[in-house]
Symmetry: C2
Subunit: 245 residues, 2 copies
């Protein structure tokens, strides 16, 4: 069976991108079965009226996503999936929404405070200079799931409490024109203090999952520092990772 592929040269969408999307859809849909060979590049290019570099670029992007494996002298084959999405920088809000959980947010604090030494170091600002402090409680099915405490440098974004309750922080930042680039993360665990336990409806001393994160935009500025605690009975970090080769 021949896979139906076609490209639209009048579209502003790059040709290699059109192709990679079609291939990805075919893999997702099961038309390209795991382990099956994706006929040689030369012929594929000829069939589509594309050049080999363009076809290679499309295939390479899927290899980088972990969907395909190339073997010299053999060909390109579809990975026996199990592959979902690799870990990406996502907000808890988006994660929950993608899982169909209807997340709710309660903003506890939204104010300007002088930066502590810890916050100043993380954000790269002067100590005691003003920073935004946002504390939120994230709920799913009416039950508290996580406590999120974030610090942001001033002047970057307009933090509206109403918007914070209806969407995620990252989405707000992206729509404010900030291009997120990378983040440094640390995941650990500790026993809940009485205050933390109260907030999350747990017992004092109960195990909590913690995450700290500093996010940078593409100019290298720190744009957010967060300290989060999660109820481990309600949430765990799940992700896929690829071996860089």
């Amino acid at each position: 069976m021949q896979l139906e592929l076609s490209v639209d040269r009048s579209s502003p969408v790059p040709l290699y991108f059109q192709l990679s999307q079609q291939l990805e859809a075919a893999i997702e849909h099961g038309t390209l079965t795991p382990g099956s060979l994706l006929g040689n590049e030369i012929e594929l290019a000829a069939r589509l009226g594309l050049s080999r570099p363009t076809v290679r670029q499309a295939i390479q992007s899927l290899v980088d996503k972990g969907l395909l494996v190339r073997r010299r002298g053999v060909g390109t084959q579809v990975v026996h999936s199990q592959v979902k999405r690799p870990l990406e920088l996502s907000s808890l809000y988006d994660d929950l929404e993608a899982a169909g959980q209807r997340p709710a947010t309660r903003v506890l604090v939204n104010e300007l405070v002088p930066a502590s030494a810890e916050v100043a170091a993380a954000l790269g600002v002067a100590e005691d200079s003003d920073v935004h402090r946002v504390e939120r409680l994230r709920l799913a099915h009416g039950e508290p799931m996580a406590h999120l405490c974030n610090f942001l440098p001033p002047g970057l974004i307009d933090l509206d409490t109403d918007q914070l309750e209806t969407t995620g922080l990252y989405r707000l930042m992206r729509s404010a024109g900030i291009t997120l680039h990378s983040a440094r993360q640390s995941i650990g665990a500790r026993a809940a203090t009485t205050e933390e336990a109260d907030r999350l409806a747990e017992e004092t001393g109960a195990p909590l999952l913690t995450m700290q994160r500093v996010t940078f935009d593409d100019t290298g500025r720190a744009v957010e520092y967060g300290t989060h605690t999660y109820r481990p009975t309600r949430y765990s970090f799940e992700f896929q990772l690829l071996v860089r080769s």
Copy 2:
């Protein structure tokens, strides 16, 4: 100041790789300062006697690593670092060794057992069929740090207890010719049972950091399933992640 770059055409190492390594070293070393522009591709290609696609391939690999950012009409600039390593599939052993911690391993169990339903599902083998079971205690500075329980399908690798004590499981698998491709991971937390507490020199009910992982090779076979528990006072997961754009 001109950055000193050169390529060796007689080397079997690909030219784009030689170039990307030199650029990466210059960034690491601080010769290329964060935010500085990396002169245009055309001129760079001419200076090195390379073609533009080759130079682009080198630059692209560093963009993928998060070290560089390209802007159309502007140029390519070095990211204001803070960038260490992105998250990769690594063994605890390698992580500790890289941190200069001289890890030690004590093999507690190394046997063939019938697969439980959970293990069979994770590895994709029949229930009650034989699988390797390896239990190890990982120590740093003489103190227990983590308890590692792994299951492997039979026939893949020769599990020598002595080798397991002197190196990591992943290194063993790689040297056995297995090409690791991806892994599905889950990180959570829970209270220690009495048995777990004893093993890790913690109190019963103390918070533990947990990680479960299924690793796949490039043919899509599950090659390892692991259930690990870490002492959160001694270990946390630290990593960098890039925004896929």
